[in-house]
Subunit: 124 residues, 4 copies
Amino acid sequence: MKLEENPIFKKYFENLSERERAVFEGGITLGALFHQFVGTPVSAKNKDILEKAIEEAMKNQPCVYDIKVEIKGVGEKYVSLDGKMLNVHLKIKINKTIANLKLKYIEDIDYPLMYVESFEEISH
Amino acid sequence: MKLEENPIFKKYFENLSERERAVFEGGITLGALFHQFVGTPVSAKNKDILEKAIEEAMKNQPCVYDIKVEIKGVGEKYVSLDGKMLNVHLKIKINKTIANLKLKYIEDIDYPLMYVESFEEISH
Amino acid sequence: MKLEENPIFKKYFENLSERERAVFEGGITLGALFHQFVGTPVSAKNKDILEKAIEEAMKNQPCVYDIKVEIKGVGEKYVSLDGKMLNVHLKIKINKTIANLKLKYIEDIDYPLMYVESFEEISH
Amino acid sequence: MKLEENPIFKKYFENLSERERAVFEGGITLGALFHQFVGTPVSAKNKDILEKAIEEAMKNQPCVYDIKVEIKGVGEKYVSLDGKMLNVHLKIKINKTIANLKLKYIEDIDYPLMYVESFEEISH
């Protein structure tokens, strides 16, 4: 049984709508991803496997439906992963509601922004 | 100007209700706190200042209205901070909506759970 | 040019013997690995790729000659990576000196210990 | 009893000279500090307490005799702590040997460098 199917776990979320629950879990996963992996040594040599390993780690989090991680601006020289280098698309699914979330560096405010791009209703 | 008052920042959140925004920001802050500080060396000697420093660090995050961090189970011997030792109360304020969130270890599911305890509407 | 071949970089280490330099760089890499990755969500599903991604990330660090990371005690349920689950063999090479270092949980002292297992002198 | 006075702990370090042991423990502590705290939200409001909390956390690590942490380039706006902002002086003591270590951003190589500044022999 997945954690999110456990009745004890589920009763803590009865006070949230599907959309509220979706953005709450999405916020947790984006905040977790950023603060877990910022600082990791990265260069052209390990960029691909690091992107994949971040995706697979975060798929363990409750309600993560899909996630795509892109690390930008990596060269030959290794650097510590900076939040501004992260480009993340995250899908959270709560029953028939899907929230599409993003972590993306927004140059105008010089800030790696986490936001909800859209919601979808699916039939199953 | 605080980041969350910047019009460019604000337009990214026009698609969310106050409650949705509150739990989204709350999720980010709880996920960030957990994954930033888990692993920190902690003993009876530095427990108090670490709790306070975590609170003050997280107050920088957008829309954090108040936060109280308690680290449980600390003895003389130092250990790496484990998520199960964290007890966090977080208040997020979006206009007149306040979300009360918690990070708390739930023994029945052996899991440090992040959840929304309640919402409040305030008059100002 | 690798960072460790840069003359500006090199002059900071002229006061160390090869063995001293090797254990200094080894200590940095073990401390970095532990505190970067502790907290990462891990289950049977992402254990292998996480081990590999940690290895490849740490190979960026100066003077890392080889590294093998094993994550122990992972089951179906996901947990936050705990330092006690890590079993790491690290080889640091400074000219003809190789230091073999370990991070390993020592039950008798209930502590994930970092230590130097041995030194080798190689002919090239 | 402190961990470093435990005979089981001590026997793992019999193969190292005092200087080797000192720089090994120093490397661990600097690597740990960097990768634990990089990413932490910091602004003028929490800079002082964060510096102090990092110092007190790292004093738990074996053989740390003294440590001074300075976070540079902090303004009103909050940012994620970057390794380039850290200026750390660390003293490790092994019997009568003290190693003075630094973490400091070196502009010429655009790198937050960890190195051993000097050794001291003390009489007690």
